[in-house]
């Protein structure tokens, strides 16, 4: 049985200027131990989709889905109380901004032990021992003394390690890492990614890596789901995706990778992800797509089959038939 199964998840926000669909028909299936990357530019609805699963969206959000199951629990009908017994324990999440994601008023030790008490009911001594063990596991030097420091006394990288330690404290079955390295220095980024993949290997948990950086994807994930303006536009196994992207957006993201650049200047995708007020009528990507046709501007494209990575495009690229011809 799949660990996580999400079908047709949509999230609408009630805003002062009307309804806004931030996530539109998101699908994801995850088996235990899977590593999946969700890629897309900022504003594509990646965070919102997973916050919806965690139940962390504000009340202005309306969440609808056909299926949303985690580890046998139906997340659509779950009571807040039962959800609290799952999140932070079996399903946990870390965020983009390590410096603001920890409470400035409490020591990092307090914040990590809190989870151990709530979910595992450990006594004081056991919590302390486990916290030290966790700090060692995530590579925080001198764990004993670090436990009593405050978040502002540590670097962003260290704080993200604390966040990771907190997230894996109760041996979760799935860890959602939402742009865990975006706010960090490049050298630290690599360390944190390495930590995440090695922890995944060690514990066998499923890992969802949310990122806007295709470069990060190549090194870590097995499956990749590409997200644009609230919609999934393509999903493939990582090597296949890199070799043969079927959606023009995926191709554009790949072309923007530094190691793939053919000129001195990095090609970037012109324009930005459409927001609440400029969502196009047809294909969401049409205003920025280099091969858009009249049809693209008027009619939303269908979702393709598995053989073309479920590409949501009128004219998917890199088709087998094309190359053979």
């Amino acid at each position: 049985m799949a660990l996580l199964e999400v079908r047709n998840l949509s999230v609408d926000f009630e805003t002062t200027s009307g309804r806004f669909r931030a996530v539109d028909g998101f699908d994801l299936t995850l088996d235990p131990g899977d590593i999946t990357a969700v890629v897309g530019e900022s504003g594509s609805g990646k965070s919102v989709a997973f916050l919806a699963m965690m139940g962390l969206l504000p009340w202005t959000a309306t969440i609808t889905s056909d299926v949303m199951k985690f580890d046998g629990n139906d997340l659509r009908s779950i009571t807040p109380r039962s959800r609290r017994q799952i999140i932070g324990k079996d399903m946990s999440m870390i965020f983009q901004e390590p410096m603001t994601s920890l409470n400035p008023c409490y020591t990092v030790g307090f914040q990590i032990k809190e989870a151990l008490r709530i979910h595992l009911g450990m006594d004081r001594k056991a919590r302390h021992a486990r916290a030290i063990e966790l700090f060692e596991q995530v590579g925080i030097p001198a764990p004993e003394t670090r436990l009593s420091t405050f978040p502002h006394q540590m670097s962003g990288g260290m704080n993200q390690r604390v966040m990771i330690a907190m997230a894996i404290a109760c041996k979760p079955k799935m860890l959602i890492a939402d742009e865990p390295t975006t706010a960090l220095d490049v050298t630290i980024q690599a360390q944190i990614l390495e930590l995440l993949t090695s922890l995944q290997e060690e514990t066998g948990m499923a890992l969802v890596l949310i990122t806007h950086d295709m470069g990060v994807v190549a090194e870590t994930a097995q499956q990749v789901s590409v997200q644009y303006a609230g919609q999934k536009c393509e999903q493939q196994e990582v090597t296949a995706l890199f070799e043969r992207p079927h959606h023009p957006y995926t191709a554009a993201l790949l072309a923007a990778l530094p190691e793939r650049a053919t000129t001195k200047h990095l090609p970037t995708i012109p324009g930005v992800v459409p927001g609440q007020f400029d969502r196009p009528k047809g294909c969401m990507f049409a205003p920025r797509c280099s091969i858009a046709t009249e049809l693209c501007h008027t009619t939303p494209p269908p979702v393709g089959g598995a053989e073309i990575g479920f590409a949501r495009c009128h004219t998917p690229i890199n088709l087998k038939a094309e190359e053979e011809a």
Partner: protein
């Protein structure tokens, strides 16, 4: 922490000098001559006037008057009242407990009601309780104090006859002044009795308490409104922070998120505001004290200003300012205790 305290104490010196300058000049820029006021309707001869001027040192240039005043201050001598001929220092500390007792009761009431009200309003943002509370806070904040006090007096003292109108305690009770706080001294004095059916409370303590109730409510009104609003807005801001999302992502129960994770952070700005409020309460109980004939420093200052009692006004203002500075220092220390970022630096 020690460095922090020392550096705060260093800033006391210029503030203190500024305060003495202001309190010294304040009474002197007011029109009216203290000697004429003292003479009353009888008036006085020019020779007597000149003699008195010389006696009080008013014939000296202002600079040397200030110099004399400051030399006195540094030796702990604030001069003697023109009217009562008692040292200003002694008068101040004889009256200060009354003001302190009233202010402490008022700020305690304001904190005990204001913080929970602000928290509940914040977590019920936009709902009925929130709207009702914020509207009443606005009313409380903008209501003229004397009018509010009169309403309370008419209702509770006049109509219901529950509470006395003025003073600190009924004239029938006499007891030793131990702490200067009526509530404590009257308990120490004994002779209190209470029965529930039928409700009857008798004795000096209940007399003191019933005298205290109305002035406390009146004086607490504005701080209560300010604290409730501040708490609400601080809570709303904190509840939107990333670390609150982290706390929720941990699966913590809502009560723990509100009271452990959010409230402590929200208290940081609220404590600053409370500190400022205590300062203004000490200084600003004037209206309340005057209306309820509360024998504290507020009423004393008002009376002294009318009498152009220079030493009392300048000394009293200075002592009030020092009290406010002490309160602010205490708040800074508290602030450091609650906010680890300050403690470090």
């Amino acid at each position: 922490m020690l460095n922090f305290l020392l550096s705060r104490l260093m800033t006391f010196i210029p503030t203190f000098i500024g305060v003495t300058l202001i309190s010294f000049s304040f009474i002197r820029v007011l029109p009216g001559d203290p000697i004429i006021v003292m003479a009353g309707e009888r008036g006085m001869s020019d020779e007597r006037y000149a003699e008195l001027r010389a006696q009080f040192g008013f014939d000296q240039p202002l600079v040397s008057q200030y110099w004399d005043y400051m030399t006195g201050v540094l030796q702990g001598d604030l001069g003697t009242s023109f009217v009562t001929k008692k040292p200003v220092f002694d008068e101040f500390f004889a009256l200060f407990p009354a003001t302190l007792e009233l202010s402490l009761c008022a700020i305690t009431l304001a904190i005990l009601l204001g913080i929970p009200a602000g928290v509940i309003a914040a977590i019920n943002r936009g709902k009925f309780f929130d709207r009702a509370l914020m509207s009443s806070a606005l009313v409380g904040y903008s209501m003229p104090i004397f009018w509010w006090a009169l309403l309370m007096i008419i209702f509770f003292s006049g109509w219901l006859q529950w509470t006395p109108v003025s003073g600190r305690i009924s004239l029938m009770y006499f007891f030793d002044d131990v702490t200067g706080f009526m509530l404590i001294d009257s308990l120490l004095a004994g002779g209190n009795s209470i029965s529930l059916f039928p409700f009857e409370a008798d004795g000096p303590f209940f007399s003191a308490l019933s005298h205290l109730v109305l002035p406390t409510i009146v004086l607490a009104t504005i701080p209560l409104a300010v604290i409730a609003r501040q708490t609400r807005s601080a809570m709303l801001e904190v509840l939107g922070e990333d670390y609150i999302r982290t706390a929720r992502a941990k699966g913590l129960p809502p009560s723990r998120i509100t009271y452990v994770h959010a409230l402590r952070n929200a208290m940081i700005p609220v404590i600053t505001v409370i500190g400022l409020l205590v300062g203004t309460l000490l200084a600003g109980a004037i209206l309340t004290e005057t209306i309820f004939s509360w024998p504290g420093i507020g009423k004393w200052m008002v009376d002294s200003i009318y009498r152009r009692d220079y030493p009392v006004v300048q000394g009293g203002l200075m002592l009030i300012a020092v009290m406010v500075m002490v309160v602010n220092l205490t708040v800074d220390v508290l602030y450091g205790l609650i906010n680890p970022k300050i403690r470090k630096s």
